[in-house]
């Protein structure tokens, strides 16, 4: 074993090295973590959810208010985005009304800049698809990608059930659920499983994926269908279970933002637990696993020096 005196890269804490995606310090081997059909379904979902969220906000902007019940009680919305103008008619302020209490959200919600000019619009132009207000086109994008998401979701569920992916990889066991408090604390402290433990999803991950797969996904599809008058004729129980068409629209909106929250946390976890290793595994399938240091006879130089 030769000892080098100069380090090829500046010395960085392991966790930061991992986050930056630099070669793991410890020896590692590659583990085939995601099969091709999981990877394809994953990226298709990512594309669909991005387009659905943004076209959905475009649709929402046509009437940026939410209600509870079957009809719209225009005087008492749960949430509404409005704009106010000065005497010359120029839009000056945007307001977000939550339970009829106004909050000044100028520049973001209610009124924001479009081509440099303050414009009355619910969500800003950078958040909607297509950018400028165009309800007819936003609806067409939304329905097209809703079909892709639904078909992809159903195929994924069927295959995941048949192949044992759900039983083997996604359903948390009783023992794992017992470790949940410990895992929550670890996640808050940004301590993630590594080594052999990283071969499997942890209980928090499993719960998050199961929540999206079995609750959030079906809920957003069903509340979406409830907004269609023809579907309400076909399945009258739909508006009934959600407490009315406008309630379904409100739940649909909340589900969309739950997906957004899931996405934000998901990306944060990907970055914090090793961006490139995670990305590589979701693109090529291969995930690098650090082997236990104690059992490794050939240790890298830096470890020896430490």
């Amino acid at each position: 074993m030769t000892v080098e005196t100069t380090e090829p890269t500046p010395h960085l804490p392991d966790r930061l090295r991992a986050a930056l995606g630099l070669t793991p310090v410890a020896p590692h081997y590659f583990f085939y973590r995601h099969r091709a059909w999981v990877r394809i379904a994953h990226w298709l979902n990512a594309l669909c959810l991005a387009i659905l969220l943004m076209s959905g906000l475009g649709i929402f902007n046509a009437h940026p208010a939410l209600y509870w019940g079957n009809g719209s009680n225009f005087d008492h919305p749960i949430l509404s985005l409005t704009a106010t103008a000065d005497d010359s008619g120029a839009v000056t302020h945007g307001w977000t009304w939550i339970f009829e209490k106004p909050h000044d959200t100028t520049g973001f919600l209610g009124a924001s800049r479009q081509d440099g000019e303050m414009t009355a619009r619910g969500f800003p132009v950078w958040a909607t698809l297509p950018g400028p207000q165009w309800l007819a086109m936003a609806r067409q994008w939304h329905f097209a990608f809703a079909w892709i998401l639904a078909i992809n979701g159903v195929l994924f569920l069927i295959y995941a059930l048949v192949s044992g992916h759900i039983r083997r990889d996604l359903a948390p066991t009783g023992r794992e659920l017992g470790h949940l408090p410990r895992e929550i604390v670890d996640h808050i402290r940004l301590k993630f499983p590594h080594g052999e433990a990283a071969r499997r999803y942890n209980a928090l991950q499993k719960l998050a994926y199961c929540f999206v797969l079995f609750i959030l996904g079906p809920l957003i599809v069903l509340t979406g269908l409830t907004m269609s008058p023809t579907m309400d004729a076909a399945f009258p129980f739909l508006p009934w279970i959600f407490g009315g068409r406008q309630s379904a629209r409100t739940i649909h909106f909340l589900c969309a933002f739950s997906f957004l929250a899931f996405f934000v946390i998901h990306i944060a976890m990907v970055v914090l637990s090793g961006t490139w290793n995670n990305l590589r595994s979701m693109i090529t399938g291969w995930y690098a696993i650090r082997t236990e240091r104690r059992r490794e006879p050939e240790r890298p130089i830096k470890e020896d020096m430490a």
Partner: protein, 255 residues
Amino acid sequence: MTDRRTFLGRALAGSSTLLLSGCYDLSQKPWFTGLLGQVENLSRTAQHIFAGPHTLAPEYSRADIAPVFRANGTLDPGTPDYAAHVASGFKNWRVTIGGLVDHPLSLSMDGIRKRPSRTQITRHDCVEGWSCIGEWTGAPLAPLLAAAGPKPDARYVIFYCADPMTAEGDPEHYYYESLDLTEAMHPQTILAYRMNGQELPVAHGAPVRLRAERQLGYKQPKYVQRIELASDFSHVGAGKGGYWEDLGYTWYGGI
């Protein structure tokens, strides 16, 4: 560090703009909008399979009726012709049923009111996203169409309205709409002349409007004057089957 943050911020904003303008450009490309049109056919076919020709839209109780039913689109056609009809209490208003039929009809408002009527408390869903519940009374369209005797090649029912959408006198720009024969013959499809127990107000389409309860609001034209049965609708307006369809909205309005 600040530089990097500015750079990252700009890169993010730049790529999102690129993505968005990409989507905007795609929305103008015929091949792409054609693809989206195929999705519309898929939605229509799937919904027809699940809904069938006879399932009814939910009906509600009097207690559910909206205190304020929003009037949308044209609130008053505003033409001298229409004003004269209002002044005379729509005494001379006629609704004609023609086109691909064996026996063209011309009905007065009294004639329509004397027909068997249906009263339904239903939910009106606007394409914008809001809903209002109201009570409607009118003559079911199916027996009227049956009386006119559709020819075998009649597939669509086109409704011509009295409200001009642009400069007056331009016949192409009066409001019009179309339904397929299945939706037109649906039991809840009525020529409504009463709303919430009163004469239909001008803002809601006096003297008579269409109610097609499994469809969005824009498929339910107001101020109906002429009904034409046809094998297609390419000869009307821009040929897309309705005023809003000509402006890019989907012809299928069940979703």
